[in-house]
């Protein structure tokens, strides 16, 4: 309780209450995440369980009763008769799962390499940072595609759909660790020179203990910012890969897969199959990004 009270009284909470943009963005993110998490309870069907679908419901327009079954869907249905509202929520589950997992993977990898690079220095630092530099010269999506291609080559065809999600996480995670590594390395270089680190070295604390217990907690502010912005990027990257057909399989469609499926119907008049998933993706990515931007400004002592 005491820590909750302190958190609510903190400068960050105060700034949050003073920023309408951050509050709206946080609200939208909360609604979308809530919707994705509780999807089975707030939709009438699981769109990926063929037993629950009725092909007769295919291509129902939003808010218009279907001409055969008389059923009405708030956002319409696709060619298989899936409720678009349900596909969005279920699709967002995949998108968010991949996004969060990829960011956590990138964070663990990047923070570890950044800490080691900054604290150990010398040749280790040079090697890690050169790898990071080289990777930065390629667009992230290209790196992800490359990893995806390699993974596809080494997994047996019958298991591809199964591992597709994990490959996606690996590919996006590996394409985003550099940001974390750079920021943490910079912060580590600053903290390393401070006297509290010298005091710990003086009593013979091991390098690992100093990195993990002393330096790491003091680099977490910027890491949080990068993580939030990376989440938006990861969601977009996942959607891009899925749109290109190399991401989430049609059996587990993410928002990107839904958009790919939807664009096939765009010019035949069934606009809603593309439009609503695209709006959902936009709202999610934009809100997370705005939240990240706000966090960066709020944690920046120079802007206080």
């Amino acid at each position: 309780m005491a820590s909750l009270a302190r958190a609510l009284d903190s400068d960050l909470a105060y700034k949050f209450r003073r920023s309408p943009v951050a509050m709206v963005a946080a609200f939208i993110v909360a609604v979308l995440i809530g919707g994705a998490v509780f999807a089975p309870f707030i939709t009438t069907q699981n769109p990926f369980d063929p037993a629950q679908l009725n092909l007769m419901n295919g291509f129902t327009e939003p808010l218009t009763p279907n001409q055969f079954t008389g059923e009405s869907f708030i956002l319409g249905t696709d060619d298989q008769g899936r409720d678009v509202y349900a596909t969005i929520l279920y699709g967002m589950r995949i998108s968010l799962f991949v996004g969060f997992s990829a960011v956590i993977f990138a964070m663990v990898l990047g923070v570890t390499l950044g800490l080691v690079s900054g604290y150990v220095g010398g040749r280790t630092d040079t090697v890690i940072m050169r790898i990071a530099d080289i990777q930065l010269t390629f667009p992230a999506i290209l790196v992800a595609l490359l990893i995806f291609g390699i993974a596809k080559g080494i997994t047996p065809p019958d298991r591809r759909d199964e591992v597709a999600i994990w490959v996606l996480i690996l590919a996006i995670g590996l394409s985003e660790w550099v940001q974390f590594a750079r920021v943490v390395r910079g912060a580590t270089l600053v903290e390393k020179g401070k006297e509290y680190v010298q005091a710990a070295r003086l009593i013979g604390r091991s390098s690992v203990a100093i990195m993990v217990r002393h330096i790491l907690p003091n680099t977490l502010g910027p890491v949080l910012v990068i993580a939030t912005i990376s989440l938006a990027l990861a969601i977009i990257a996942e959607a891009t890969l899925s749109f290109l057909g190399v991401g989430a399989p049609p059996t587990q469609p993410s928002l990107g897969t839904l958009i790919r499926i939807g664009q096939e119907f765009l010019f035949s008049g069934e606009w809603w199959i593309l439009f609503f998933p695209a709006i959902a993706l936009l709202a999610l990515a934009l809100s997370v990004n705005l939240l990240g931007d706000w966090l960066r400004d709020a944690l920046n002592p120079k802007l206080r």
């Binding site: 401070k194 006297e195 509290y196 010298q198 005091a199 710990a200 070295r201 003086l202 009593i203 013979g204 604390r205 002393h214 907690p217 003091n218």
Partner: protein, 330 residues
Amino acid sequence: MSDVLVEVKNLTRVFDVSVPWLNRVLERQERQFLRAVDDVSFQIRRGETFALVGESGSGKSTIAKMIVGLLPASGGEIVFDGERLDTSSSAAMTRLRSRFQMIFQSPFASLNPRWRVRDIIAEPMHAFATVDGRRATERRVDELLELVGLGAADAAKFPHEFSGGQRQRIAIARALSSNPEFIVCDEPTSALDVSVQAQILNLMRDLQDELGLTYLFISHDLSVVRHMANRIGVLYLGALVETAEGKALFDAPRHPYTRMLLEAVPDLEMSGKTHSHVKGEIPNPISPPPGCTFHPRCPYRFERCPNEVPKPVPTDTGEAKCFAVEEGRI
């Protein structure tokens, strides 16, 4: 048990300050070295306060770091209670580490902002396993907090909840928590206001009397050094130019640099003294003047000074590195 606790013999530290290899090749530059500490020797007796005083670039902080093993020496040796300090041998270092501690200059950077005061003070106890069990550790932390003039209730707070002086008290409590015999104090009050400085200096003297501590006190402030030290070493450009008993150094300084420093101290007595002999600035330590490094600023210089490097000559209570003193000119 010998009278000398710490002995520093011919301690030298050279830093490589060369520009990167590629630039050196392209710009045809030589490698450059900075002798931050140059052949410094002194002894610290048990229970005394030995002070090193000097201006920026004098090497005083570098010496402090080498003595506590934070920085390896380029040459010479440090002997702690008869045992040689060897940063390359971890067994020997572990044995010695628990016997010395350090108090740093900045009360803001010396405490980890994410740690509670209790954990900060207890860290050396954990490192050296001096106290068993959580209860005993907390009891010891409370004791230490009271010893430095804070309360047990402060243990649960974070550093940012304290003023600069209180933080320095916490840093002192941390330094004391492993029961050291010897504490290196690197400008412990130079970031504090004068009224707080007085509190910390008084506290440090009280603790010394109570716990029988030996201090190496490093400062640029002659008045503070005068107040704290039994013996004083004056550093100029990495070399020890004079050592003397505290009072003697201030009443009868021998080395011309010591004289100049004393003359430069602002005078609170308003006796109307002048700074007429205070001249020049500290030269670039990468290319120090030849011979006696002080000669370009020295009012007593003569032909030997730019050409020979002075050796220490004994004075009444210590020694001085000066040809003018050696030849009895001053």
